[in-house]
Structure formats: C-alpha cells, structure tokens
C-alpha cells in the first residue's frame, strides 16, 4: 500500500506544529483578585501588575524555558465567589500555585480550602490572621502573604509617635475588614508604646462625612489621630479634619493611603499627614544606596509606560508575590511541596514593600523596617524623620 506523500507531510507538519505551539505544558498560575466590585481599586492595579510581569517574564523566555500561564479570576471581593474560584482552580485548572486574593475577608475565607488541598498561596491581603493560625500560634503551612501585616504599620506609627512624645491618641477606622483589622492591632499594641486611646470612632465605607466623629475627638485630649481606612473615605476624613481646624492634632493615615492620587484628591488637606509606606511609594525619594531603590524605580517606570496611570501600593503586593513565586518555581518546577518549601526559605528577597525573610515561623517575612514613615509635603511624599 502506497502512502500518500501529501498526507504524510501534512501529518508531520501538524504534529510538529502541535509540539511547537503547545508549549511544553506551561506553568499554571492563577490569581484571584477583586478586579470589580467594592474593592476594585485594590484589585485592579494588582491584576495589571501581575499581567505585566508575566508578560515580561515570558518575553524573557519564561522560567527555565517554560512559559507561565496566568489567568486572573475576579472575586468581586466576595467570600463565596472567592471560595468557588479557588476550588475551581485547584480541582479543574490543577494549578501550581495561587496568588491573591486581594481582600482580607476573601483571603480568610479560603484558608480552610488552601490547607485542605495543599496548594502554595501568596495572598495579597494584609490581615495577619491569614498567615497566623490562632490555634497553633504558627503560620498556616501553605499560606504566605506579601503585604505587611497591619501590626507592622501600627508599630511604625506608634514608634514615630513615641519619638514625638505623644501619649494620648484617638482612633478612627472604617467598618470594613481593612479598618477592623487595623483597629484591632491599634488597640492591641497601644500599651506597649505607652499610648492611651481616648477615642475609638468608626464610620461606614460609603459615608459622606465624618465631621461628627472628628468633633467628638476634638472634645477629647487626643494629641494625635490615627485613621485606618481605604478608598474615598480616607480622603473625606482628612478634609473634615482640616475644615474643623484640627491641623494642630497630627494625623496619621494607614499604609492604605499609599497612592499619590489620594494626596491629589485631598485637595491640600493632606499636607503634614503622616503615613507608613513601603519603599515603592517613595521610590524617587529613596537615597541612591537604598536596597530597594533599583527594583522600585524599575517597577515605577514599567508600570507608567504600560498603563500610564499612577502607581498604587497595592500593585506592589502583586509584584512581590509574582517575583517570589517565580523564584520558588525556578528550582521546584510545578512541585507544590517544593514550591512551598522554597517560599519558606526565601531570604533577602528585595521586593517593592521591603526585604523579605521568610521562615517557618514567619510567612510574611517583613519587619516594621519595611515601612518608611512618610509625610505629605507640598503635594508629594517626603521621608519623615
């Protein structure tokens, strides 16, 4: 029987094309960010950053020649949707590792899942409970997170206050996961820094005015105010503070304030406000010798070039997560156990939000040195002393 030459050639070409086109089973990474919904202003820069980085890495040949396949699932900041998405990417997509979620609530919601299915995860949410099993007092085995824990930001703020001789403070927080997480740490750590909390006020994430809360604080002996919130309310509260003539009471924002857009929106009311920020927010202001100078400047440049919008500190969490994961995969391939072990052994990793030193007892790897105390001056950040 004669073999048709044409069909033979066609088959060979086809098989060849399949081998070439179907990249040797790309490394599957999935990210779960709240790209839409109430926390979209956090998830959006994270998604953009992750996509940009994967593009860069793949353009440079991927990891050991293997391309990364990244798909971002939108959680809308919702616990149920996050649960579904994570379960889907574990059971259906069979991923090597997970990046995200964006919000503390969603991240805490999938802790049981991650631990059960044993998938390395790098969360981009802040709450320390994500990497701290309250029952054992140790980190969850499979979960890591890149954002600095609220406690570190609180310590940075409190240390600064202590230096300034402040002893009575007022707290303001938004009634969301972010605000509640920060408030808890603020209350917990106050006594260690010799601080008395004289007011503990809250407001809703969509409130239009916080004058009432500030007026109440005005009537106390508070020497400084700490505010813990994200989104438009953290700007509104600043304006109310300014309008009430309370500039004499120093105002500390959380690290959630880390976007220049917020200074702009505050329309001058942010002048003199303190804020603990990761190095990436003040990249240009860092001294040349600063360890993070180079990576932060590079990210800033790339992001601006690609998306032409101001950098947000939340994108930096995704940056840290992707890069650490890539580093872990380099020697582990898609071996989940090994990826996890590698992640735990990361030391001296220079990221956007600090220098990470992971360990068995610390799945965040940052200290309060990850924060620079920054003050708003002339409409821009400046390093505070």
């Amino acid at each position: 029987m004669r073999v048709d030459k044409f069909s033979l050639c066609a088959t060979v070409v086809l098989i060849g094309a399949l081998i070439l086109a179907g990249p040797a089973a790309a490394i599957k990474i999935r990210a779960v960010f709240s790209v839409t919904g109430p926390a979209s202003f956090l998830g959006d820069p994270e998604k953009k950053t992750a996509e940009m980085l994967v593009e860069q890495i793949n353009a440079a040949g991927g990891i050991n020649g293997e391309k990364i396949e990244l798909i971002v699932y939108d959680t809308e900041g919702d616990a149920t949707k996050t649960n579904l998405a994570v379960r889907k990417l574990i059971t259906r997509d069979k991923v090597c590792a997970i990046i995200g979620p964006t919000r503390s609530g969603s991240s805490l919601a999938v802790v049981p899942l991650i631990e059960k299915y044993k998938i390395p995860q790098l969360s981009c949410a802040a709450n320390y409970k994500i990497v701290h099993n309250e029952k054992t007092g140790k980190p969850y085995k499979w979960i890591f997170k890149t954002p600095q824990s609220d406690g570190l930001a609180v310590e940075a703020i409190y240390a600064h206050m202590q230096k300034r001789g402040i002893s009575k403070i007022a707290l303001l927080s938004v009634t969301s996961g972010f605000g509640a997480g920060g408030r808890q740490e603020l209350l917990r750590l106050a006594s260690q820094y010799g601080l008395t909390i004289v007011a503990d006020e809250k407001y809703g994430p969509k409130d239009t005015d916080m004058t009432a809360q500030l007026t109440k604080i005005k009537g106390t002996a508070a020497q400084a105010i700490v505010n813990w919130s994200i989104g438009p309310v953290q700007v509104t509260v600043l304006r109310n503070w300014r309008d009430l003539g309370m500039r004499g009471v120093p105002f500390y924002q959380s690290h959630g304030f880390g976007s220049r857009k917020n200074i702009e929106l505050a329309a001058g009311a942010a002048e003199g406000v303190f804020c603990p920020l990761g190095a990436m927010n003040v990249a240009e202001k860092l001294p040349a010798g600063h360890p993070q100078k180079q990576v932060t400047m590079q990210y800033l440049k790339d992001y601006k070039a690609k998306y032409n919008e101001p950098l947000s500190s939340f994108g930096g969490h995704a940056w840290d997560a992707i890069h650490m994961l890539v580093q872990a995969i380099q020697t582990a391939g898609c071996n989940k156990e090994k990826i996890r072990d590698n992640l735990e052994q990361i030391t001296g990793f220079v990221g956007q939000h600090g220098v990470f030193n992971m360990s068995e007892n610390d799945h965040n790897g940052l200290t309060k040195d990850a924060f620079q105390m920054v003050v708003v001056a002339n409409g821009d950040w400046a390093l505070a002393d």
């Binding site: 007026t215 109440k216 001056a377």
Partner: protein, 321 residues
C-alpha cells in the same frame, strides 16, 4: 532630603502638644457641630427622598436607580468642570441636563416597554437599570473616586465654636431652592397640577384627559434633575465614585418612608431627621452603630405610625404594590 515638620516651617506650629488643645471645645460647640453636620447630610438625603417621591407619586414605583442619578450628577460634573474645564455656571446646568437625559432613557427603555406591569416588576426593572448604569459608570470614570472643587472655596467659616464648610451652605441653599421651585411648580403650573392629580388618583387623572405617560416621563425628568443636583453639590464634600449610588438610595428611601411616602414636606423632614440621628448618634453614643440607630428609630416609628410621619394612610391605601 529629609522633611521636617511642615507646620514648623509655615508657622502654624502645634508644638508643644498642649497648643493643639488651646482652642477649647465646649460641649455646646460640639453639639452645634453635630447639628450642622447632621443637617448637611440630611439635606442630601432629603433631596434623594424628594426624587423618590416624585416618581412614586405618579407611578407607585420606588425607583432604585435614584442613587445612580446622584452618582451620575457628580461624575458628569467632574468630566465637564474639571476635565473639560467648563465654567461652573455652564457645567452645572449641562450636567443636570445630561443626567436628565438618562432619566428619560430610563423611562423609555426600562419602564414604558413593560406591558401590564406589577409594581414589583417595575422595581426590578429599576434595579436592573441601576446595575447597568453603575457598570457603565465604572467603565467611563474608572474605579477610583473623583473630586470637584468646592463652589466657593474651602475656607471654613467659624460659627459659635463650630465650623461650617462653605459647601454646606450651598447644600442648604439648594435644598431650599428645590423645595421652593417644586412648590411653585405643583401650585402654579398646569403640568404641576396635572402631576398632583396623577398622584392623587392616576385613574381619574387619565379620565379627565391627563396624559399619564407624559406625566411619568416628566416625573423621571424632575427626579433625575434633583438627583443630579444632589450629586453635584455633595461631590466637593465627599468625593464621588461609581458605586456610591446604592448607599445614598437606601438612605433616601429610608428618609422618604420616615417622612411618609409621597409627602414632600415629609421627605424634607425625614431626610433632615435621619441626618441628625446619624450625626448625633455618632457623636454622642457610638459611631459604629450610628446607621443602626437611625434605622431602629425608623422601625419604631413605623410600628406606631405605619404611614410615616406625614404620610397619608388613606392615600397609601389606594396605591398598588
């Protein structure tokens, strides 16, 4: 370069700390501040509640997209005034006009096409529209909040120890203006009287030759215009972003119910009372529970006066649901 305390350089100097407290805050001035803040927020709620009432009176619908009008008002104004650089006096009416157009579209595309509707179907249509508008706004204006410059600067005015932002005065002013214009409209114009007739008894109104469809359209126009106005004047105080509408709609709805659905004095009173409860509750009792206080009082009131403060039980009985 390291930065040193900005106020030391500018001479506002708070140090030593005790200076910060030099300005004594008495309880009365605090109370006054709560009242001022409450009335300002309340005025916005009132405006949203008035918007609810106008549409409710003619159609018996609670328009859940009412909050989106407010959001759109603010964001359209941002585009016209700060992005396109139009003068305030031109941008304001233009923004209101554009949002009104959305109101017309809402009526034409979502309300009118529904045949033999039940009131609940209509409500779902407005919910659907609000989801759609919110989604579109996210694409157009992005996910971040936007700001407008205050109409007459941001230098606060001192008032017996309390502080008033100039924008607060604009908020009060516009509430008064809206109330005056609406009163004149309903009392003096044919269209206004026809609308009141529709509100009292739509069936009878159509019998005497009033074009009920046109009145519904007019109600959407008016309500969108008022919503947009509220959005424009609140944005300099609290910024505006695509998903702010829902919260304002809920508060406005609560205000409308508190005052009695369909009653304009009720809407104004309901809004102001709601604002005051929130502000006083936050200031004097607990800020975490301030929204809960307002709603608890609303519930208690409803149990004793099932038609709200100034609502008419007889009228609400004719209305379908």
């Amino acid at each position: 370069m390291r930065f040193r305390w900005s106020w030391l350089q500018t001479g506002i100097g708070p140090w030593p700390i005790e200076n910060a407290l030099m300005e004594t805050t008495t309880f009365t001035s605090q109370l006054l501040q709560y009242l001022i803040t409450g009335l300002t927020i309340g005025s916005i709620y009132s405006m949203v509640a008035i918007g609810f009432n106008i549409i409710y009176n003619v159609t018996e619908i609670i328009n859940f997209a009412q909050g989106e009008f407010v959001m759109l008002g603010g964001l359209v104004m941002v585009t016209l005034h700060t992005v396109a650089g139009l003068n305030l006096l031109i941008a304001f009416p233009l923004a209101v006009g554009l949002v009104t157009l959305i109101g017309v579209l809402l009526d034409r595309l979502a309300i009118r096409p529904i045949r033999n509707p039940s009131v609940l179907t209509l409500i779902i249509a407005t919910i659907a529209a609000s989801i759609l508008i919110k989604g579109a706004a996210m694409l157009i204006w992005g996910k971040n909040p936007h700001d407008l410059p205050a109409f007459s600067g941001r230098d606060p005015i001192s008032f017996f120890g309390a502080v008033i932002q100039p924008q607060y005065l604009w908020v009060f002013g516009f509430l008064v203006l809206i109330v005056v214009i609406l009163t004149l409209f309903f009392d003096k114009t044919i269209a206004g009287k026809a609308m009141s007739a529709c509100a009292d008894n739509p069936h009878a109104a159509s019998l005497v030759g009033i074009n009920v469809n046109r009145m519904i359209l007019l109600s959407f126009i008016l309500s969108a215009a008022i919503g947009a106005t509220a959005g424009i004047i609140i944005t300099p105080i609290s910024l505006m972003e695509f998903d702010r509408g829902a919260m304002l709609a809920v508060k406005g709805f609560a205000a409308a119910i508190l005052g009695g659905l369909g009653s304009f004095p009720g809407a104004v009173a309901g809004g102001l009372i709601l604002g005051l409860i929130e502000s006083l509750g936050a200031g004097l009792i607990s800020s975490g529970y301030k929204d809960a206080f307002a709603l608890l009082i609303l519930l208690a009131l409803l149990f004793f006066r099932p038609s709200g403060l100034l609502g008419n039980a007889q009228v609400s009985r004719i209305k379908r649901f």
